[in-house]
Amino acid sequence: MSGENPKHMLRDVFIEQLYERMRKDSSIYFLSADFGAPIIDKLRSECARRFINVGIAEQNLINVASGLALEGFTVYAYGIATFLIMRAYEQIRINLALLASLRKMNVNLIGVGYGLSYDVSGPTHHCLEDLGIMRILPNIEIISPCDEVSTRSLVEYTLDNNFPKYIRLDGKPLPAVYDSHDRMPLLHGFKSVQQGSRVCIVSTGYMTHKALRVVKLLKEQNVNCGVVDVFLFKTIDRDALRKLLFTYEAVVTLEEGFMNKGGLDALISGVLTQQEFSGRFLNLGFGDEYVFEIGDREYLYSLYKLDDQSISATILDLVKKI
């Protein structure tokens, strides 16, 4: 990628594209737990009957969404990631995960601000748990785009697939990873964004940007590190992913969430161990503690040895052991 790389708020990208569809398709509802975005002003004036602000009431947000979906409507339920999924976790479990075993329901939870997106807001707004707790639930797909291009193509995916989904979007603007002519391999659920040799980072969302920065640092040390971006967690093609990762001698997961709690690391180690992986596996992320320190995202990372330099050094050590 060369030249200017403007940043995009992925929630704006997602809702803008959805808005274009909502104008033409009266079967789409957009519910918000009193959470906004600039594009929502347009959406709620043009699709007034199908935009509902339920108030700061995430439990009811999910239940109302479930009821609408039972009647055949496609529903988007929008809120801050941590409150959307954790305040209403039981509603998601009962009225989406469980009920979707028996009834078709196209409910799309759009959670904004995973990880440390809301850096200075502190631990109530941080969301280091989402991948783990949402992966546990059957029947719900997890969608985790990292940039504008992947977000756009995943909007269509949410419309076309009639089951519950959790779409996690960063709370801060992100630059492009993919070129505008790139096609997202939706049947694979992942994409190799950097071909490497010997070592590969598997990441998702914001961490894919970080991984690409780490790759540059490693290159200076003559280490050619690959990057795989995961964007669909449930329907991911495990066989294809295994085939790709088995070409490496070391695999490192990098996630903006707790380690060893069922998140990206668990997904990837499961993929690797399904057949015996002879290489090394390392998971990077946050330990078993909350982040109370105040500062911007990268400052917080540096406190937990997850800044680009530290990660690069860790991977360099790993490569030396191969």
């Binding site: 439990q59 239940n63 009821g67 609408l68 039972l70 509603q91 009225n95 469980l98 009920l99």
Partner: protein, 269 residues
Amino acid sequence: MDIQTLKDKAKWVRSQTMYLHGLAPQTRIASSLSCVEILVALFYGGIMRFNIDDVLWEGRDRLIISKGHGSIAMYPILADFGLIKKDELRTVCTQGSRLGSIPDPTVPGYETINGSLGQGLGVACGVALALEQKKSKSNVFVLSGDGELFEGSVWEAIMFAGQHRLINLRIIIDNNKVCMLDYCRNIIDLEPLEDKFANFGWDVKRVDGHNIQDLLNAINSSLVVGGKPMVIIADTVKGKGVKRLEIDSLSHIKMLSAAEVDMIIEKMR
């Protein structure tokens, strides 16, 4: 059906519910006995529109059973209409049966997953909105317990329904006044319950929940008044029909022995 036939139906449903409890003591008998007349009014009183050949028929009225545990009384009704086979009733809570102690939509006639209290009304709000958008004439009925009104999610939904004037939504509260461990009033007194709903924009009726005629009058009036969602507070007795349960604040977790069930059913004849 005339009122006497409805009363006979209620008697039959009550005895069948006890019969099921005799077979499966895991079922919540006291909670199921308090809502017998409510279910009879809905199913036999000409209120609910449904199609036994197509349980998801678009023109049906939606019945959302929020008090899952206490809806075993619906099993005999579903069997009476042929939605499940009469023989199947005997399988309740046995291996391989689809009739558990808390019903879910694997049983034809149930719309939602039940058993987690305080969830039905919120889902019903979404269904009511959807039906309005579809310009459907169908109504949404919710059968709720009074104990589950302690759940905060219910009040989120009560506020929502009032604000959005969901006129096709009716909640019937089986107000049997007993939770699991005590009388509700000793835990958090829900009264004056009419005022609470009225203040959130609901029409309110309060009736004797064991009087089928009163129930029918209230539900029917709710279908013509319009303008607001309606709550029918049906004052009931938990364990209705079984003296020792009727006076027990712990009736929710009490079981009847098979011999006791036989004796009570015999007496009812």
